[in-house]
């Protein structure tokens, strides 16, 4: 069943049926909670291990964070069973989010032959 019935009908008119549904979700919520705690510990442990490449460390940390974010958004925020209006809004937002970060980063690096003035000093 999709989550829409929660929002479409409040508790008043959906006695019984809906209660049962929510009840069946409780386990999921606790499981997600446990997973999040595990994820937190994992991130810390992974960061302790010194990987050879900084990039790898960053990627792993961000990967774990993304998984956690997915769990929170997907289950706690019910994004896995949301309406398409909200998907559309989020999709647009995510695109612009990456446009902002990505293009700025690119712009700051495609600066031909520029030098930082402080490195002019060559002892």
């Amino acid at each position: 069943m999709s989550d829409s019935s929660h929002s479409a009908h409040g508790p008043a008119d959906t006695q019984g049926h809906d209660d049962h549904d929510v009840a069946s979700h409780l386990k999921t919520y606790w499981a997600v909670f446990a997973a999040l705690l595990v994820g937190t510990v994992l991130t810390v442990l992974m960061a302790k291990v010194q990987f050879n490449s900084v990039a790898l460390t960053v990627c792993i940390a961000l990967f774990i964070a993304s998984v956690k974010a997915f769990l929170v958004a997907g289950f706690f925020m019910h994004l896995l069973s949301e309406k398409k209006t909200i998907y559309a809004v989020m999709a647009v937002t995510v695109i612009f989010f990456f446009a902002l970060g990505g293009l700025t980063l690119w712009a700051m690096h495609d600066m031909p032959q520029k030098t930082e003035t402080k490195t002019l000093y060559v002892p």
């Binding site: 929002s7 409780l26 937190t40 940390a61 309406k83 970060g101």
Partner: protein, 277 residues
């Protein structure tokens, strides 16, 4: 005419107004924190080499207290699950349980803020010291027998202030330095002020890392505070609506919870980025 869809969902979108509104608000929040995270990356990638000679790094890191940060993460995650449980309790018509979970959530929120201010204080009492001969240390400062910190920001010292207050020497308890040949003692060094080339606490103006760390976490903290206050309102004075309009009340809790999860989500990224990497 009354405004429709405050409690029931609109058939074609399947959503009630507040939910649409809240998700839109979250979209703007994503862009807000997105811009701050992007700034973090840009500043870090473009950081000067060796501006932070105390640890010989372009960008100081591993300076925050990881165990405490981890614990605080757990606190926030707990509050996230309790708020969703509170909503589920309402769905199952159990107001008592709802209130219990909400109280836990709010307590977690304040615990988080308390721990955070402890951490802030830790940083405000921690100093970076560079000497004119190129030596650099971090540690705790003692001037005239006092340890200035977060709770008394006007007591914070830096070099210009030392000079202008005619202080000639300070005591400095240096931290043990990793990888610098063992364990520096915890004895206080006495440092002459004219030998100092730089002295400042771990506060925003000292380095861009602290600047962005304090700015993002403070902004996040404000979100925690705001969210906690709203949730507290729903739990106590605003709970009367459960009697008059249970549907709309449940919606409010759902929407408040959505905001709360988002605050948690920001922290999920913030924690590794500023504490671990």
């Amino acid at each position: 005419m009354e405004i429709p869809y405050t409690d029931k969902a609109r058939p074609d979108t399947g959503l009630y107004n507040a939910k649409v509104g809240l998700w839109l608000f979250l979209a703007s929040e994503i862009m807000l924190f997105g811009a701050l995270f992007s700034s973090y990356i840009m500043l870090r990638v473009g950081a000067d080499e060796g501006v932070w000679p105390a640890v010989k790094l372009a960008w100081p890191h591993h300076l925050l207290n990881v165990p405490i940060g981890t614990f605080n993460t757990a606190v926030l995650i707990t509050s996230s699950v309790t708020v969703v449980m509170a909503w589920a309790s309402l769905k199952m018509n159990n107001f008592k349980r709802f209130r219990m979970f909400m109280v836990i959530t709010i307590l977690c929120a304040f615990a988080f803020l308390g721990i955070k201010s402890y951490e802030y204080n830790e940083k405000f009492t921690h100093y970076e010291l560079r000497l004119k001969d190129g030596k650099a240390l971090t540690g705790h400062l003692e001037v005239n027998g006092k340890h200035p910190g977060f709770w008394s920001p006007s007591d914070l010292w830096n070099l210009p202030r030392l000079t202008s207050s005619n202080v000639t020497e300070v005591k400095f308890v240096a931290d043990p330095m990793e990888g610098h040949g063992g364990h520096a003692s915890h004895e206080a060094l006495t440092v002459k002020v004219d030998e100092i080339s730089h002295l400042d606490a771990f506060i925003p103006r000292n380095h861009t890392f602290f600047a962005i760390y304090f700015t993002i976490t403070a902004l996040h903290g404000l979100h925690v505070l705001g969210g906690a206050l709203v949730l507290a309102y729903f739990t106590f004075p605003g709970a009367g609506m459960w009697k008059t309009n249970p549907e709309q009340f449940t919606n409010r809790i759902e929407v408040g919870g959505l905001f709360w999860h988002f605050v948690d989500l920001v922290w999920i990224f913030l924690f590794p980025v500023v504490y671990l990497l």
